[in-house]
Protein backbone atom coordinates (compact mmCIF):
# COMPACT_ATOMS: atom_id res chain seq x y z
CA UNK A 1 0.00 0.00 0.00
CA UNK A 2 0.90 3.65 -0.21
CA UNK A 3 1.07 4.29 3.51
CA UNK A 4 1.80 2.58 6.81
CA UNK A 5 -0.89 0.01 7.46
CA UNK A 6 -1.84 -1.20 10.93
CA UNK A 7 -4.20 -3.91 12.07
CA UNK A 8 -6.48 -4.32 13.81
CA UNK A 9 -7.71 -0.74 13.89
CA UNK A 10 -9.67 -1.50 17.05
CA UNK A 11 -9.27 -4.31 19.56
CA UNK A 12 -11.20 -4.96 22.76
CA UNK A 13 -9.71 -7.68 24.91
CA UNK A 14 -10.21 -9.08 28.36
CA UNK A 15 -7.66 -8.45 31.07
CA UNK A 16 -5.07 -11.20 31.13
CA UNK A 17 -5.34 -12.15 27.47
CA UNK A 18 -2.51 -11.73 24.94
CA UNK A 19 -2.82 -9.41 21.93
CA UNK A 20 -0.84 -8.99 18.73
CA UNK A 21 -0.74 -5.75 16.79
CA UNK A 22 0.58 -5.71 13.25
CA UNK A 23 2.35 -3.01 11.28
CA UNK A 24 3.06 -3.07 7.56
CA UNK A 25 5.46 -0.20 6.79
CA UNK A 26 5.87 1.67 3.55
CA UNK A 27 7.66 -0.54 1.06
CA UNK A 28 11.43 -0.02 1.17
CA UNK A 29 11.49 1.76 4.51
CA UNK A 30 14.25 0.32 6.68
CA UNK A 31 13.39 2.10 9.93
CA UNK A 32 10.27 1.18 11.88
CA UNK A 33 9.01 2.64 15.14
CA UNK A 34 6.32 1.75 17.66
CA UNK A 35 4.80 4.43 19.86
CA UNK A 36 1.97 4.41 22.39
CA UNK A 37 -0.46 7.27 22.86
CA UNK A 38 -2.88 7.57 25.73
CA UNK A 39 -6.09 9.51 25.14
CA UNK A 40 -5.23 12.97 23.81
CA UNK A 41 -1.66 12.81 25.06
CA UNK A 42 1.77 12.91 23.48
CA UNK A 43 3.47 9.84 22.08
CA UNK A 44 5.52 7.47 24.22
CA UNK A 45 8.39 5.71 22.42
CA UNK A 46 8.35 1.92 22.67
CA UNK A 47 10.86 0.41 20.25
CA UNK A 48 12.81 1.15 17.09
CA UNK A 49 13.89 -1.28 14.35
CA UNK A 50 16.59 -0.75 11.76
CA UNK A 51 16.03 -3.61 9.35
CA UNK A 52 15.24 -6.65 11.47
CA UNK A 53 17.29 -5.62 14.47
CA UNK A 54 16.10 -3.49 17.36
CA UNK A 55 18.95 -1.25 18.53
CA UNK A 56 16.66 0.55 20.96
CA UNK A 57 14.12 -1.31 23.09
CA UNK A 58 14.35 1.17 25.93
CA UNK A 59 10.72 2.23 25.79
CA UNK A 60 9.08 -1.15 26.29
CA UNK A 61 7.24 -0.64 29.60
CA UNK A 62 7.58 -4.18 30.93
CA UNK A 63 8.61 -7.70 29.96
CA UNK A 64 4.99 -8.31 28.92
CA UNK A 65 5.75 -6.26 25.82
CA UNK A 66 7.77 -7.62 22.92
CA UNK A 67 8.16 -6.85 19.26
CA UNK A 68 9.71 -8.47 16.26
CA UNK A 69 10.27 -7.61 12.65
CA UNK A 70 10.82 -10.15 9.92
CA UNK A 71 12.13 -9.77 6.40
CA UNK A 72 12.84 -6.11 7.06
CA UNK A 73 9.16 -5.41 6.59
CA UNK A 74 6.18 -6.39 8.75
CA UNK A 75 6.43 -5.91 12.50
CA UNK A 76 4.34 -7.39 15.29
CA UNK A 77 3.95 -5.89 18.75
CA UNK A 78 2.82 -8.46 21.30
CA UNK A 79 1.40 -7.66 24.70
CA UNK A 80 1.07 -10.62 27.04
CA UNK A 81 -1.31 -10.82 29.99
CA UNK A 82 -2.86 -7.46 29.15
CA UNK A 83 -3.70 -5.03 31.92
CA UNK A 84 -6.15 -2.14 31.90
CA UNK A 85 -3.29 0.38 31.88
CA UNK A 86 -2.25 -1.04 28.50
CA UNK A 87 -5.33 0.58 26.95
CA UNK A 88 -4.07 3.14 24.44
CA UNK A 89 -3.54 3.78 20.76
CA UNK A 90 -0.48 1.97 19.46
CA UNK A 91 1.06 3.85 16.54
CA UNK A 92 3.55 2.47 14.08
CA UNK A 93 5.73 4.63 11.87
CA UNK A 94 8.37 4.06 9.23
CA UNK A 95 11.02 6.04 7.42
CA UNK A 96 13.48 5.39 4.67
CA UNK A 97 16.34 5.79 7.11
CA UNK A 98 17.09 6.88 10.63
CA UNK A 99 15.35 9.94 11.99
CA UNK A 100 18.56 11.95 12.28
CA UNK A 101 19.15 11.66 8.56
CA UNK A 102 16.32 14.11 8.07
CA UNK A 103 14.03 11.55 6.51
CA UNK A 104 10.33 12.04 7.04
CA UNK A 105 8.64 9.60 9.38
CA UNK A 106 5.22 8.43 8.28
CA UNK A 107 2.69 7.22 10.80
CA UNK A 108 -0.08 4.71 10.46
CA UNK A 109 -3.56 5.40 11.79
CA UNK A 110 -2.92 3.33 14.89
CA UNK A 111 -4.45 0.36 16.64
CA UNK A 112 -6.84 1.33 19.43
CA UNK A 113 -6.55 -1.21 22.24
CA UNK A 114 -9.08 -1.38 25.04
CA UNK A 115 -8.54 -3.81 27.89
CA UNK A 116 -11.69 -4.52 29.90
Amino acid sequence: GAGVSQSPSNKVTEKGKDVELRCDPISGHTALYWYRQSLGQGLEFLIYFQGNSAPDKSGLPSDRFSAERTGGSVSTLTIQRTQQEDSAVYLCASSSNRASSGNTIYFGEGSWLTVV
Binding site: V4, A99, G102, I105, F107
Partner: protein
Amino acid sequence: TQLLKQSPQFLSIQEGENLTVYCNSSSVFSSLQWYRQEPGEGPVLLVTVVTGGEVKKLKRLTFQFGDARKDSSLHITAAQPGDTGLYLCAGVDTGFQKLVFGTGTRLLVSP
Protein backbone atom coordinates in the same frame (compact mmCIF):
# COMPACT_ATOMS: atom_id res chain seq x y z
CA THR B 1 14.83 10.51 30.25
CA GLN B 2 14.44 13.30 27.75
CA LEU B 3 11.28 15.30 28.14
CA LEU B 4 9.69 17.86 25.87
CA LYS B 5 7.09 19.97 27.61
CA GLN B 6 4.54 21.87 25.58
CA SER B 7 2.46 24.82 26.67
CA PRO B 8 -0.33 25.51 26.78
CA GLN B 9 -1.79 22.04 27.10
CA PHE B 10 -5.12 23.19 25.71
CA LEU B 11 -6.11 26.30 23.77
CA SER B 12 -9.59 27.38 22.70
CA ILE B 13 -9.79 30.50 20.53
CA GLN B 14 -12.00 32.25 18.00
CA GLU B 15 -11.38 32.26 14.30
CA GLY B 16 -9.01 35.07 13.31
CA GLU B 17 -7.01 35.14 16.54
CA ASN B 18 -3.28 34.55 16.74
CA LEU B 19 -1.65 32.00 19.00
CA THR B 20 1.73 30.62 20.00
CA VAL B 21 2.56 27.13 21.23
CA TYR B 22 5.82 26.50 23.07
CA CYS B 23 7.97 23.40 23.25
CA ASN B 24 10.72 23.32 25.87
CA SER B 25 13.36 20.83 26.93
CA SER B 26 16.48 20.62 29.01
CA SER B 27 18.09 18.47 26.30
CA VAL B 28 19.72 19.48 23.06
CA PHE B 29 18.35 17.91 19.89
CA SER B 30 19.92 17.63 16.46
CA SER B 31 16.65 18.79 14.97
CA LEU B 32 13.08 19.35 16.00
CA GLN B 33 9.86 18.56 14.22
CA TRP B 34 6.27 19.71 14.54
CA TYR B 35 3.33 17.42 13.83
CA ARG B 36 -0.41 17.86 13.65
CA GLN B 37 -2.75 15.03 14.54
CA GLU B 38 -6.48 14.76 13.92
CA PRO B 39 -8.79 12.30 15.71
CA GLY B 40 -8.44 8.74 14.47
CA GLU B 41 -5.31 9.47 12.48
CA GLY B 42 -1.59 9.34 13.01
CA PRO B 43 0.51 12.51 13.35
CA VAL B 44 1.44 14.26 10.13
CA LEU B 45 4.72 16.12 9.79
CA LEU B 46 4.43 19.90 9.36
CA VAL B 47 8.05 21.02 9.45
CA THR B 48 11.59 20.13 10.53
CA VAL B 49 13.93 22.76 11.95
CA VAL B 50 17.61 21.95 12.11
CA THR B 51 19.71 25.03 12.79
CA GLY B 52 19.68 26.95 16.07
CA GLY B 53 17.79 30.21 15.55
CA GLU B 54 16.14 28.94 12.39
CA VAL B 55 12.73 30.31 11.43
CA LYS B 56 10.50 28.55 8.92
CA LYS B 57 7.17 29.72 7.56
CA LEU B 58 4.42 27.53 6.22
CA LYS B 59 1.58 29.79 5.07
CA ARG B 60 0.07 31.14 8.32
CA LEU B 61 2.33 28.98 10.51
CA THR B 62 5.75 30.21 11.72
CA PHE B 63 8.15 27.81 13.39
CA GLN B 64 11.23 28.84 15.34
CA PHE B 65 14.07 26.74 16.75
CA GLY B 66 15.85 28.18 19.77
CA ASP B 67 19.50 29.22 19.50
CA ALA B 68 20.53 26.45 21.90
CA ARG B 69 18.41 23.85 20.06
CA LYS B 70 16.50 23.01 23.22
CA ASP B 71 13.21 24.76 22.54
CA SER B 72 10.89 25.74 19.75
CA SER B 73 7.71 27.66 19.11
CA LEU B 74 4.84 27.49 16.67
CA HIS B 75 2.94 30.68 15.89
CA ILE B 76 -0.33 30.62 13.97
CA THR B 77 -1.64 33.84 12.48
CA ALA B 78 -5.37 34.37 11.92
CA ALA B 79 -6.34 30.88 13.06
CA GLN B 80 -9.05 29.04 11.16
CA PRO B 81 -11.34 26.18 12.23
CA GLY B 82 -9.32 23.89 9.96
CA ASP B 83 -6.32 24.45 12.24
CA THR B 84 -8.09 22.52 15.01
CA GLY B 85 -6.13 19.49 16.15
CA LEU B 86 -3.41 18.15 18.43
CA TYR B 87 -0.03 19.79 17.82
CA LEU B 88 3.03 17.80 18.81
CA CYS B 89 6.66 18.78 18.83
CA ALA B 90 9.28 16.06 18.58
CA GLY B 91 13.02 16.18 19.09
CA VAL B 92 15.33 13.93 17.13
CA ASP B 93 17.47 11.96 19.57
CA THR B 94 20.92 11.71 18.02
CA GLY B 95 21.96 8.91 20.34
CA PHE B 96 19.18 6.50 19.53
CA GLN B 97 17.86 7.77 16.24
CA LYS B 98 14.32 8.13 17.48
CA LEU B 99 11.80 10.92 17.97
CA VAL B 100 11.06 12.12 21.49
CA PHE B 101 7.59 13.62 21.50
CA GLY B 102 6.26 16.52 23.50
CA THR B 103 3.22 16.41 25.74
CA GLY B 104 0.98 17.91 23.06
CA THR B 105 -1.17 21.02 22.68
CA ARG B 106 -4.81 20.58 21.78
CA LEU B 107 -6.09 23.53 19.73
CA LEU B 108 -9.76 24.28 19.15
CA VAL B 109 -10.62 27.11 16.78
CA SER B 110 -14.28 28.10 16.80
CA PRO B 111 -16.00 29.90 13.90
